[in-house]
Symmetry: C2
Subunit: 340 residues, 2 copies
Amino acid sequence: MATMRDVAKLAGVSLATVSFAINNTKPVAPATLERVREAMDTLDYRPNAIARALASKRTRIIALLFPMEDHSLSGTALKFFTAAAEAASELGYNLILWPGDNGAEHIDRVVSNGLIDGVILMEVHLDDERVVRLRELGVPFTLIGRTRELSGISYVDVNFEGAVIDALARFEALGHRSIGIVFDDDGDPGTSDYGPVARTRDTYLERMRAIGATPGIFSCAESSSAGRALVPRILAEMPDVTALLLINEHASPGIVSALAAHGRPVPEAVSVLVVGASVDIVSAADPELTVYESPSRELGRRGVRDLIQRLENPNLEPAAALVDCRYVDVNSIAPARPRA
Amino acid sequence: MATMRDVAKLAGVSLATVSFAINNTKPVAPATLERVREAMDTLDYRPNAIARALASKRTRIIALLFPMEDHSLSGTALKFFTAAAEAASELGYNLILWPGDNGAEHIDRVVSNGLIDGVILMEVHLDDERVVRLRELGVPFTLIGRTRELSGISYVDVNFEGAVIDALARFEALGHRSIGIVFDDDGDPGTSDYGPVARTRDTYLERMRAIGATPGIFSCAESSSAGRALVPRILAEMPDVTALLLINEHASPGIVSALAAHGRPVPEAVSVLVVGASVDIVSAADPELTVYESPSRELGRRGVRDLIQRLENPNLEPAAALVDCRYVDVNSIAPARPRA
DNA sequence: ACAAAACAGTGAACCGGTTAACTTTTTGGT
DNA sequence: ACCAAAAAGTTAACCGGTTCACTGTTTTGT
């Protein structure tokens, strides 16, 4: 493999000049530039990323930190990963995948060996010790999600609240008043401090209060069978339910089929909307369900872009982006018909 | 951040001794070792991965190459990714995620900058130009999947044939003779050279010939609705079908519900087995389906382990591992009952 | 026509480790 | 005791780039 030294020799210039020519760090005369280019071509020269990193103290590697005790690491996560890796690649960066427990020591291990320029943090909690540690260490980072305290923090998050508000408005417009909500199981939805759950729950409760309806909050594991098993509980606690807002993508198909089995077909008897899922997964329900699709790709791209931009220009403003879900309508809601 | 130089000074030894102490590359007297350890502790020293990589010409980074024009990059892929990253992490390596088109130039870009010690290649085709290129370049690699020509190549693959043989045997034992098979759409299953498809198809055809049954090969896109849409075609071409082998996980729920809608409930009228899917996704079908679950985690771990072992000991034998699917039985098959 | 400024290019230190070759000290056999 | 061999350490070159301070040459303004 040819080195810069070889190129310099062949082009009849100094090492430094080659470096300047490559990075155009300093102006180089057109003729010289041409000679260097030719030399690089004939030698099939590729700059060595490691040497470059050592000398410049910038590795152009960013880490994607995600927890292994995943919940919601589902269909959307994969899209997120690939979109993030693509975006990084387009900008000349590399994305390292870093699974791990949550926790501050984990951060230390990732960062301390100097391999990484910055971090993308997934599955952020409202109070997240990893964020604290990253700040202490002075490592640039961008959140996917939001902490409670956001001053000076760069984040890209899904606009769950917006989707919930929109969904509830649609239900209400169709005359629904008895509207239940279904979360996944990790962290009691009553107390969870996982951002999307907490915010969605609050938005829901507030709206229910506003229209004077009794809220019905449920949760089950992230699986279709858990969804099926949950339905009797829902019908017992909320016998007059006419609409369900699902925040649990994997459970959705099971919920729908169990509703039908209990004589409450969707959408005739119960209207259903899903928030923050991937269409791939939810379309397994029969009938298919209208979804506020999680903008995973967008999230991945935006997160990575923001981080890299700020790496290259540290005094840039932190990002504060809320990305809307896409409403994918397949008519799984209908006017409320009170049960005979 | 403390450097080795600092440690050496504090411990009163030379740079080299510190290096030997850290990597135990050369014996160091116990007393000296202790002093070095202490110095490292008090300085909170972490070796710099980049400098180490430059000097030792080993980055301890491996790349996971996966195509973006995915098919089957589905529920199983995510598990695969995280298992691979975990395994790498446990062995002190880092996993870079590298999406891209297929193609040999893609390989060049990944490898040429010296950032990477080895490559894990996903979604391997029977004749894969990337494999050729990797060999030319002399880059260590491990396949997830298998090429046609395997001499000297390290691979870890799912034992699809085994699963298909087992599944067909179960069908036959229950008296089924009219057995259809459903692939996903990428690459006509009649001619595809994507390994799993090609091998599965061949195994199926061979077995059908053996029992003197007429084969029925179908395919549709990787979605539940495509599955639903496919059912009428299946029933038209194979009106007497009593068993279906599905190689298309996302389509499975749709196929099941459409079968029911056409008066052929599963498993009473049609027995169904799914090969190479993830339980998460297929369990969305109602009733749930018996699955030969794709051993994605195992695949990820084994692939990474093999690659790293061979990086550290280049004259190790290449891996040649076929990993069995796990049979997850939920009774979606029943004795054949010829249609009235 | 001449000093000042702008432009091209070079040399060498440096990033933070690894490792081969060499020196010094210790050990052991006779 | 004495010498050869083993053990423990050290020195310095090297990995392949980046970048700062500097030199020599050309351009510009007046």
